[in-house]
Symmetry: C2
Subunit: 324 residues, 2 copies
């Protein structure tokens, strides 16, 4: 925010206003937008230099000024202010305090910087990188700082990953009997993580550009459900085919056909993909609802959570189908 | 790009120029920047309305115009043009063809749209979503279109995941003997994926804001190596501790101590984290070098690749340490 802008008073004539801008121009960042303030510096209107140049010279500022102002409050999030500049194609946005007193402006170039900054922040939070999220400082940040930014979430997620380990361990008997199931663990985890990350990305992005808000939760879940169903069918059939055609030599007890195992893997993957889709869209919305940044609960956190649900789904489904 | 801008000729006086802008202002999107062109419409200079208002009225345009122009070529990437507007805090950027003839301008609000658009595109490509990547159309896009955008990469990655399956299958004997190893597969895969994704995100973002280029490959690898080493130590020690403290009841043959298994898991995770860090930074740089979008080879593709290398590292290391 800068205080480097021109103000006009409502009683000035257009000629006087232009003369004032000409006097002040050498010191001002922009004279293309002027803000009209009353004696108490309350913001009451706005004029562009184009308006002034086109107006009849004897008109008074208050006769020609725009009273339907777009402005931001000092307490607003800077990203919201930047989005307003983008939405209304403004060169600058005035900022007022609680008493409507003009305290500064945010210019179009500030807005680009803010938006770039938020993009970097989103991407980095999305990938579980802590820290300050400045743009364009990758090479200048020290290795030690990079290490600190990255290790926090890696350690937290590895701790959360303990749960995956417990699940595998508790189904050890099943795995020893059907070693073939271990073959499908990576695919199940990856596909769940990928589907969930896709949903989370779309929802985080739609939240970021203010297309949706946490109130839309049911509409979003219904939408993801509709997209998830065909994905479930497609991926389940592929997983079934994979078992039938590529897993012939893996070890399994006598009397269990490949198609039964294929069915178990396919159904498990289907449930996993649908769950991942719903969790992937639900988590960012829940974070936004709790006034947290939606990006925080995205990809790596999501992958770890979806791994846990996925392994549980996988082994439970396998037990059910194999009747043990 | 718009053709809705004002041009001046070099011989005009400041008074004539202002009069011309005043005449044309009602029809022009912006009159704050004017472009000076010769008789063949070649771009030779630039003047802001502020320059004109401050200049002595009898001066000629060519006496006061700026000749050190910032401009874009019609063949330039629109993102590069937008980044120029951001870098030099411009209200508009002129676009010329191969003969230096002015063919249009890109305004500051176009730039914000382009930057937002590219960010949506980056995020979506990053998360393996194909399609048109328009901003703000999540709810308006049909479920069927969403399905088509998402399934392409999911299927490709699931196919690539066949390789993970083969690796697990080929170490089946080891797994049957040491079921305890299966317990660590999810953590190994997730931690590798998370570390690799962090590196990829930082490199993709640094490439996007033009902080680095593919030529910096050795500097980037060296940097990632320096960040990777302490991560390796930290995570390997944690993995070792995890085996010692949390895996007591998992099945293993007589005569193999938990500390030996912990050592194997810790070393495997260490190698995996370092490999993932280097692959994560290398892949986006390689893509940029090959004139592909770096975002395409990022997170899910990376996770799948790192899973494959990780499983191979895991089982090979385990075999080595357990002497079988």
């Amino acid at each position: 925010m800068t205080s480097d802008y021109a103000t006009l008073s409502p009683e000035q004539s257009v000629t006087e206003a232009i003369a004032k801008l000409r006097r002040e121009a050498p010191d001002k960042e922009t004279i293309y937008y002027s803000y009209v303030v009353d004696l108490g510096r309350k913001l009451i209107g706005f004029l562009s230099l184009k308006d002034l140049i086109l107006a009849r010279p004897e008109k008074r500022v208050e006769e020609i000024m725009h009273r339907d102002l777009i402005f931001a409050h000092v307490t607003d999030d800077q990203e919201d202010a930047a989005r307003k500049i983008a939405k209304y194609d403004l060169i600058a946005l005035p900022v007022v305090n609680g008493n409507n007193v003009l305290v500064g402006i945010i210019t179009h170039d500030d807005a680009i910087d803010i938006i770039n900054q938020e993009h970097t922040e989103d991407m980095e939070k999305f990938m579980a990188i802590a820290g300050s999220h400045e743009t364009g400082v990758y090479m200048r940040t020290s290795s030690w700082q990079h290490f600190k930014n990255r290790c926090v979430w890696l350690v937290l997620l590895a701790a959360l990953g303990l749960i995956s380990g417990y699940i595998v361990q508790s189904f050890e008997g099943l795995l020893l009997q059907f070693a073939i199931l271990a073959t499908f663990m990576p695919m199940l985890a990856d596909t769940g993580g990928n589907t969930g990350s896709q949903s989370a990305t779309l929802v985080v992005r739609a939240l970021a550009v203010r297309e949706i808000s946490p109130r839309d939760i049911l509409r979003v879940l219904w939408r993801e459900f509709k997209v998830g169903l065909p994905l479930v069918l497609l991926l389940a059939v592929l997983a079934f085919g994979r078992v039938i055609f590529f897993a012939g030599s893996a070890s399994r007890p006598e009397g269990f056909s490949l198609s039964l195992i294929g069915l178990a893997v396919g159904v498990a993957l289907g449930i996993q993909v649908l769950t991942a889709t719903l969790i992937g869209s639900l988590l960012p919305l829940a974070a936004a609802k709790a006034k947290l940044d939606p990006a925080v609960v995205a990809s790596p956190a999501l992958t770890t959570i979806v791994d846990i649900t996925g392994l549980f789904i996988f082994f439970t489904t396998a037990k059910f189908f194999l009747g043990i």
